[in-house]
Symmetry: C2
């Protein structure tokens, strides 16, 4: 008997920049039978980017029309370009029983949870600020000033951790992936009102058959 697996679950992986959430999501996709949510954006496609895979590319008009229709789980205007998570596509996959992962920033995660409260929010934490600094410095693309700004932003974002369901410290990447997978696995056994009714009905239905034997 397949219990309470009828609807997929939405796992939102987020956390400060530099914590490795992208690497974790990539591994989750490779190792599990799940889907990733594709964002919609108004920015110009870069070479090699494929519509519907990298992003859904849209005009500002189309994007704002979708906003007006309440069609986003979350969206933001970043330096003049819109980025957002189209609700319909995520919901459709969930209805098909597919799990979906969504990699977004902290504000986006909190917004998405408001629109879709069943979302499971996972906060990826750095092992320490020192290590986070080292990782950002390692990229070699940022000035000292920008690095300090990023660290301040990381701390500010971390203050929202109480809005999350889980945290995963990304110290050793393989451990972080396994821990995130454990969360996904465990959540399929979480008792939530809708599932409970479904579970009990299954057994009650069976009992009815017994009685009428």
């Amino acid at each position: 008997m397949e219990i309470a697996e009828k609807k997929g679950k939405l796992f939102i992986i987020s956390g400060p920049s530099g914590t490795g959430k992208g690497t974790i999501c990539k591994a989750l996709l490779e190792r599990n039978d799940i889907d990733i949510s594709v964002s919609m954006t108004t920015r110009t496609p870069r070479e090699g980017e494929i519509h519907g895979v990298s992003y859904y590319f849209a005009t500002r008009e189309e994007f704002e029309q979708t906003i007006a229709e309440g069609g986003f789980l979350e969206y933001a205007d970043v330096f003049g370009n819109y980025y957002g998570t189209p609700k319909a596509m995520v919901v459709e996959k969930l209805q098909q029983g597919r799990d979906v992962i969504l990699e977004i920033d902290v504000q986006g995660a909190i917004d998405a949870k408001k629109v879709y409260p069943e979302s499971i929010l996972i906060f990826i934490l750095p092992p320490s600020l020192k290590e986070l600094r080292a990782r950002i410095e390692g990229r070699g693309t940022e000035t000292e000033e920008v690095i300090n700004l990023r660290l301040s932003k990381a701390l500010e974002e971390m203050s929202y951790i109480d809005k999350y369901d889980y945290f995963v410290v990304n110290d050793i990447i393989d451990d972080a992936i396994i821990r995130t997978e454990a969360i996904m696995h465990a959540e399929h056994g979480r008792v939530v009102p809708e599932d409970v009714k479904y579970i009990l009905d299954k057994y009650k239905e069976e009992e009815k058959c017994y009685t009428h034997q």
Copy 2:
């Protein structure tokens, strides 16, 4: 940095008789660095039973004294013998950072959660009533009447599943063990108010060091 691992977690494994919770607990103990809670009882020790390992054996007077002191996570009088989970021993292990598993019946689990709300309740479900019946019949020790009574009791107990945090369907035992372990693993990353404060303080402390460099 070890985050929020300072206190152990109490996992209560329960469910109807015949669902295999004992087998799951045994495997959990063998495969993980965790402790099991030892019950106190007033019944006479059987041959081979060791005080402090099988049970803590106590007189009715001692047991009732512990009840009066609010010293049990849960207790019950079963056919004239008391059985209970001494709170102090569990709490001591948790304080030492040890995870503890406790295998009890449904009523005991619900009582324990009231006394220790941080308990994580896991309900072990049979794959179906038919299979549960087959398992009880397989023991070959029960009359048809008793089997029917057990099945009715199982269904009644299952109606309390909404008091639980998780359910695990024990169809294939190895899968059930792995799923229970995933829950235990995931719960160490669950955001709970006390841990959140601890997590943030760690990073803030570190930031302070940065600022004073």
